[in-house]
């Protein structure tokens, strides 16, 4: 299976997918850790794909998204952004809106707490 097929299958089969370095339980990079941490804290059910475990995927996801860095978040098959964009969207409340519009369950109180802590 090519990396492209594998990526398409993964983002089709899962509402929320984070391509990251390491796993959600054990991130291997600060940027991946930050995004996985936000999603975990917000109680979002997401699939994690460890690009460090597969060199083909590591380059493949960059080509697929036309985006040079990892982590990369996909919601309902659409590329949302990398670490900086997810951070901004979390703080502005746009991530809440995105999840709501796509029927993705999340803990609004937890999201509000992140915003309070970073206000």
């Amino acid at each position: 299976m090519t990396a492209e097929t594998q990526i398409k299958d993964t983002i089709t089969a899962n509402d929320v997918v984070l391509f990251m370095k390491g796993t959600k339980e054990m991130p291997q990079c600060g940027f991946s850790s930050r995004v996985a941490g936000v999603l975990n804290y917000m109680g979002v059910d997401f699939a994690d794909v460890n690009v460090l475990a597969d060199e083909g995927l590591r380059q493949g996801i960059k080509d697929f998204s036309d985006w040079p860095t990892i982590p990369q978040l996909y919601v309902k098959g659409e590329f949302v952004g990398g670490c900086d964009i997810i951070t901004e969207m979390t703080l502005s409340g746009e991530l809440d809106t995105l999840f709501s519009e796509n029927g993705v369950a999340y803990d609004k109180d937890a999201a509000d707490k992140i915003r309070e802590a970073n206000a």
Binding site: K62, D66, T69, G81, D84, I85, M89
Partner: protein, 78 residues
């Protein structure tokens, strides 16, 4: 080869001549950049950051990329 903040700024300046550009960080590998440019108006954040990555002309690509991490903030002027 790590990149100096001044090199990153010069590279971005070629694509965004009139932008407000601030590059910070001193290890040359983990850097931060803010780009405020009129051309970003009407673009979403993904489109804005793609434009910045394109301006960096492959400096972040693959294992040979000189920049490991560039924290980006992009927006149109207020």
């Amino acid at each position: 080869m790590p990149m100096q903040a001044s090199e990153i700024e010069a590279l971005l300046r070629q694509t965004f001549p009139d932008a407000k550009i601030e590059v910070s960080g001193d290890d040359g590998v983990h850097m931060a950049a803010m780009v405020v440019d009129e051309s970003f108006r009407g673009m979403n954040r993904v489109q804005q950051q793609r434009a910045v990555y394109a301006a960096l002309k492959g400096k972040m690509d693959g294992s040979a990329g000189e920049l490991h991490a560039l924290a980006l903030t992009t927006k149109a002027p207020d």
